[in-house]
Symmetry: C2
Subunit: 313 residues, 2 copies
Amino acid sequence: MSVTIQDIHQASQRIKPYIHRTPVLTNESLNQKVGVNVFMKCENFQKVGAFKFRGASNAVWSLTDEEAKLGVCTHSSGNHAQALALAAKMRGIPAYIVMPNNAPQVKKDAVAGYGGQITFCEPTLEARESNLERIKNETGANVVHPYNDERVIAGQGTATLELLEEIPDLDVIIAPVGGGGLISGTSIAAIETKKRIRVIAAEPEMADDAFRSMQAEKIIPSENPKTIADGLLTSLGTLTFPIIQERVEQVVTVSEESMIESMKFIWERAKIIIEPSSATVIAILWEKKIDLSGLKVGVILSGGNVDLGKLYW
Amino acid sequence: MSVTIQDIHQASQRIKPYIHRTPVLTNESLNQKVGVNVFMKCENFQKVGAFKFRGASNAVWSLTDEEAKLGVCTHSSGNHAQALALAAKMRGIPAYIVMPNNAPQVKKDAVAGYGGQITFCEPTLEARESNLERIKNETGANVVHPYNDERVIAGQGTATLELLEEIPDLDVIIAPVGGGGLISGTSIAAIETKKRIRVIAAEPEMADDAFRSMQAEKIIPSENPKTIADGLLTSLGTLTFPIIQERVEQVVTVSEESMIESMKFIWERAKIIIEPSSATVIAILWEKKIDLSGLKVGVILSGGNVDLGKLYW
């Protein structure tokens, strides 16, 4: 049983009291530049600065009181760790986070700041997984995977429900793909709400495992990718890949250069901060690799967590 | 006859089809940091990236068809020049802009990009005024001063009408003061809508002519100020000063350092780009120079035009 549109509607009701309903912004300079009517769903304004808070909140608030008491756990060094820590804090339950000991200090501080209980481990997938397994067994905490989890996928889909409520006549929706949680939820929410809508995934050329997985019709793991889009480094999951195969029209890859250019354009013209992973969806329009001219295109700006000390231009 | 609340209501109706109704954003990290409930009126999202478009639009659309045909003119090197050029373009009339020949290329390009007809002159106030006078006489164009103009003041006040419509129970409104157009319009709109509301002006310590003018009870001109808040370099006007004296509780000055810190905080946490002039209103809360703890404080984020090539941190 995969995720259904009902799951996403339920998630939306469940998390409504805890999340921000983020605004949908438009920008004339952008529309003129790319020849498309763009509607930007601003998840960079979401709590913890990224859509990840939706999925984490849905997982946390799906638990029974008895389950919840034991807490939640995950291994992550990114936005998901912060999101889960904050969601758990809001429910008043513990969050156990396994982080590699080489994670940037700013990320450790952020997770700790939201009350997450951090266990540091060697920076290998094996060490992360074995530590998580141990914590789960010791505490009884519920494991919340960053993307390969139905509750998380359903939560991520709620952004698209809101977007379509506001702009019902979209022709296309574009979201970035990393592990596939966001694009999976997006594609179910979009297509089950509006049959003929087109769903496109945006991916960096330098981390094109989803593109290659679609070609090969099986999951091709991401291998040591080098891209500024640090939110899109992971491989697809066993839950997310079939959903993407069934509903996503195509994965379009974009260059590092066009990500930087379009990110700067959005900062300068739309006056909002987006992170490189979010810039992929604008970069598709920027590169005009596929013809969307004149269409109404919704894009999910997935997050706004950047280091203002080192800019890319 | 000064500007009345009716003038501001009329301006609001007049410019509604042309301007953006900008969102009011809140941010929990900011509220926690400063101990105040802050409501940010995002004029950085306004057309041309600043509130200036409101006043310029009101002036342009106040003209009769006959007057309008002859165009509008001003001398300015900043946001007002762009705002007037775009407002004129939207009405389909000429805008003659006198700019100092040492204005940054990016600003010249922006004004030209909006269809403004630029006359370059020596970078002195005398040269600017004599060129403007000549153009006015040659063309019959209507002079629209950046702030010392009742139509402009009324237009700038419309942001506060919108803010109070959305958040009626504000205790305080803070706006930056340069020439005084924004704070004048803000103070009339606020106090004539809600008698007991407090209106505070924010000014850089390094350009504290408004602060000193209030002390001296007469206009003290700004003399070669050195501040990163490049939108707040001008002196008060004969129209704006009496309005400010009557309605603004106090002018609070802020340090360059706290402007930079609070600007960075807003970029990082609220994920929006604000310019240094806008950071003054946050810096007042940041410095806690006056006690506003627990109050509902509306702030006008006046603009978001920054050079992303040179950041201040």
